[in-house]
């Protein structure tokens, strides 16, 4: 499976904010925080379609996400903050008290290029 490098930007969304108050154990919240949006051409280059499973790795840890195509800049990934992004975040705050929460260099590896429901 090919490995590609991206810039990961954890973000916040309205639905994520609503689900935080509904409950973080719900399927909807888990889906929101593990769905990563990327440029359609990046997905093509990676050889995946919407719903595919990818593994994202930093020097701190790794987590699996489902990808979804969206109107975002090439070479960048966007995913709402949540427990999966915590696994990728380092603890160094550069003396500011806040860890670098955006703009991580990540490695992306394909786990399942096609979502299970699309397989024959």
């Amino acid at each position: 499976m090919p490995v590609m490098h991206f810039l990961l930007m954890p973000i916040r969304t309205n639905k994520q904010g609503v689900q935080i108050n509904v409950g973080k154990d719900g399927d909807e919240y888990k889906t929101i925080v593990s769905t990563m949006t990327m440029h359609p051409e990046d997905m093509m280059e990676l050889g995946v379609v919407s719903g595919a499973t990818i593994r994202v790795r930093t020097e701190i840890g790794e987590a699996e996400f489902q990808c979804k195509e969206a109107n975002v800049p090439r070479g960048m990934l966007f995913v709402p903050y949540g427990p999966p992004t915590c696994q990728l975040m380092g603890g160094d705050t550069d003396g500011t008290g806040m860890p670098t929460s955006k703009g991580w260099d990540v490695e992306v590896e394909v786990v399942e290029p096609t979502p299970p429901q699309l397989l024959p």
Partner: protein
Amino acid sequence: MTCTLGEVKNRADFIIYWGGNPAECHPRHFTRYTLTQKGKFLPRGRKDRTMVLVDIRETMSAKAADIFLQVRPGKDFEMLTILRALVKGQTVSAEAAAETGLTLEQLQDLVNRMKAAKFGVLFFGMGLSMTRGKHMNSAAALILAAELNAYTKFVAMPMRGHGNVTGADVVMRYTFSYPFGISLTRGYPRFNPGEYSTIDLLVRGDNDATLVLGADPGATMPKPAIEHLTRTPTIVLDPKVTHTSRLARVHITTSVAGISAPGTAYRMDEVPMPLRPPLKSPYPSDEEVMKKIVAAVQKKPAWYPVTRTGAQVT
């Protein structure tokens, strides 16, 4: 240099959102304070205001903006520095401007509009303060707003996040003089972000117990910090079962502030709002639990020598 959101509503004719997506994250911001409201000096509401969005991608907020400027990721500090130079009339090369992903004409146009505004406001979000440059980016944004006051009235305000984060800062500030990253281990407050701030303490493993109030670090903090919370005794006060309560040794269920417990929440402009609970809860409030913990701790003998003469006042 800041103001209240009421002033923004009544006076701000030029609004910049930088590194934030209020359409998603602060959905009432546009309609309550910044864009669509008619103000005392802006009787036509939206028609009297200009909104600029600076971000690395075209978010939902871009649809509400008059001007969208797509800055290259990690180039916010450079863009702010160029804007400061242009405000002072200094020469900037087209190549330097191109580094930010924008043209010199676009940046000069923004500066002209900022200077021509009657009352400008710069709202900045995590896209500015938590990317490369961090506090230096925030400082550059604040300095830009301050320097614009040589030409017009201009203010800056951070787009604060969840519920009552502003309240935590305000209370810490009026109690200890500092907003966060405070150590009381010597009996008086010392402030040093990077040393006494929560994540640094947890990642270094300096503390051997943690009390969590109204937060869910188990679902928000970096992995090394969560691992330390798991290793050491963690006590959580929270109305719900959370990622943190699951890793904690003790979880005390409390009532929900604003729903079943009274209190005060601070708006992002630091205006305090009293919370009047419409419902009753069988659970105690955070305040009641904390008072009981403090009373129990005070009954224990101090581990350090206590002076008998009381504090000296000079």
